[in-house]
């Protein structure tokens, strides 16, 4: 018994060393405002270079080198920045045909992406090749509703990741689309696609209640909205209460500005999607009032 208690105290004492670092920053934050900027992309589809100047719809738009310059500029201006991607990194230009996604993931790593999720096109060269590419990534791939333990992706993704930005904790999850009907079955062998609303909500609740995250962001490849009764970002936003932001993909939806709607408890949820091809960089700015403990996602009066 005494031994057990000693062991317990020793464990906590180690923990308190980290606590010593946490407390001062917590106190500094009291009464202040902390700004966090979220940058995001989706469905870049291997558009490493800008679209050609003679392209019918997107002449001269996009490109990794320009996006990186823009990201660097935001990082110079803002202290707390998160850079996220909502899937379909792969497929769409010869860069993918020749380099199988390796170059995309490597360059995203160099741009300092904090996390991504898996889109259906990530499976285009089969699950073994996807596993090979993900294993070389220096940023994590988040999948909260794919059961992967019987697949080649076992252990290569995580259900969530928590990012600390000053005193603020941001939980990020990943919601994957139902692959049946979209991907050749052998290419996603062993992947069990679970209900994204149920699984996403479960992980988001854990992040809010147990991990005390101030904001939960879902990287989603479900698609913005459908006429059919498919899972979508709009459907997920309306049927959950622990997810604050859905950064979407798959439907290549261009939004003039993020959509704001109510979740199932009547609180605000933000849904955004940047189109595709790296044409836009999405940006969402949040402030966290560290003196206010109400916690709900509130809106600037300007909106």
């Amino acid at each position: 018994m005494i031994n057990n208690r000693r062991k317990f105290l020793k464990t906590i004492a180690f923990g308190s060393a980290a606590g010593m670092l946490t407390i001062p920053s917590c106190k500094v934050g009291n009464g202040g405002k902390v700004k966090v900027t979220i940058l995001h992309t989706n469905d870049v589809h291997s558009h490493i270079e800008p679209f050609p100047d003679n392209h019918a719809k997107y002449p001269g738009q996009g490109g990794f080198a320009r996006r990186f310059a823009l990201i660097k500029q935001v990082r110079r201006e803002e202290e707390h920045v998160l850079l996220l991607d909502s899937g379909d990194i792969f497929q769409g230009t010869p860069y993918f045909n020749f380099y199988k996604g390796e170059l995309d993931i490597k360059l995203m790593g160099e741009m300092g992406y904090d996390a991504g999720t898996i889109g259906n096109h990530e499976f285009d060269n089969g699950i073994d090749e996807l596993a090979n590419q993900i294993s070389k990534s220096n940023f994590p791939f988040l999948c909260s509703n794919y059961k992967l333990n019987n697949s080649a992706l076992d252990g290569l993704t995580q259900p969530y990741k928590i990012f600390k930005k000053g005193p603020i904790k941001i939980g990020v999850i990943g919601l994957g689309i139902q692959l049946n009907g979209l991907v050749t079955p052998v290419n996603y062998k062993g992947v069990d696609c679970l209900d994204p609303v149920v699984e996403g909500e479960k992980v988001a609740q854990y992040l809010k209640e147990k991990e005390k995250c101030n904001l939960v962001i879902a990287l989603s490849h479900l698609g913005y909205e459908y006429k059919q009764d498919y899972f979508s970002d709009i459907k997920t936003a309306k049927n959950t209460k622990y997810i604050d932001v859905l950064l979407g993909g798959h439907t290549h939806t261009f939004l003039d500005q993020p959509t704001i709607l109510n979740n199932k408890e009547g609180n605000a949820v933000i849904v955004n999607q940047t189109g595709w091809g790296g044409i836009n960089l999405g940006r969402l700015d949040f402030t966290f009032d560290t003196s206010d403990t109400s916690g709900n996602l509130a809106f600037n009066a300007q909106l």
Binding site: I48, E110, I260, G295
Partner: protein, 253 residues
């Protein structure tokens, strides 16, 4: 236990718990999708990293294979590009059937518009253009299906707002199938027909479940992209430009 240490530890623990339980009010300030174009600065380091890969790809991709009379776009329900590619698939399947002395029953082809990822540009066409039209490594597959499966396929096309087809013409009232003709004849539900399409759709991709269980299924050993390139090169050899039009293959009333 050292009392001082113990007090310090409890103090830290209370501080830690208090800190963790604090929920900070979140305010969403603003959001936007920032266009990246020629006015955006370029990161030279990133350009340098891409450069050797770009040089390698350019060497392979910039070969001109033919010319197009106009820009061919893919759009629902029917479009010049989806007609052109559906024709290419049908030609390849017919050539395969002749070569293998198989039945000359009608061949319908199907190509999903979502699978055509870029237009064929006006003027010179390069290998790169075709890689962008058809980036996937999909192969042409020949299926034999009973007429009722073909009818299910055309019924589904009404709800999916059309896709690329050749060898058939179809009319819908709203989403409901009014009439479909194969080779100018009505479909016999009990007769077999050939359907040429991509392996992606033959495996039930893009919700084409009704063609998954074909009694006969054969890859004709030709990738879709190779077939498109070959067609354009053949036209170019005959001094012809690529051209295709909307012809009323799919009509929605």
């Amino acid at each position: 236990m050292d009392l001082n240490k113990y007090i310090l530890f409890i103090g830290l623990l209370i501080g830690l718990v208090a800190c963790q339980q604090k929920e900070h009010k979140v305010t969403y300030q603003e959001g936007s999708n920032i266009l990246i174009d020629a006015t955006t600065a370029t990161d030279s380091g990133m350009m340098e990293k891409v450069a050797p890969y770009k040089a390698d790809i350019d060497a392979k991709m910039n070969t001109i294979i033919g010319r197009s009379k106009k820009e061919l776009l893919a759009d629902k329900p029917e479009s010049p590009l989806s007609n052109f590619v559906s024709d290419v698939i049908q030609h390849q399947a017919q050539a395969y059937l002749i070569q293998h002395k198989m039945d000359s029953i009608p061949v319908v082809s199907l190509m999903n518009i979502k699978g055509l990822r870029a237009p064929i540009p006006l003027g010179d066409i390069t290998i790169r253009n075709i890689f962008e039209v058809m980036p996937f490594e999909n192969e042409i597959v020949l299926l034999a299906l009973p007429g009722d499966s073909i009818l299910s396929l055309f019924k589904y096309l009404g709800t999916s707002e059309g896709d690329g087809i050749a060898g058939a013409s179809v009319v819908y009232d709203g989403t409901k199938l009014r009439e479909v003709l194969l080779d100018n004849k009505a479909i016999d539900p009990k007769k077999n027909y050939f359907l040429a399409t991509s392996d992606y759709l033959a495996n039930g991709g893009d919700h084409y479940h009704m063609i998954m269980n074909a009694s006969f299924k054969r890859k004709i050993n030709m990738k879709l992209r190779e077939a498109i390139i070959e067609e354009i090169q053949d036209l170019s050899d005959k001094d012809l430009d690529v051209d295709a039009n909307v012809e009323g293959r799919i009509i929605f009333n």
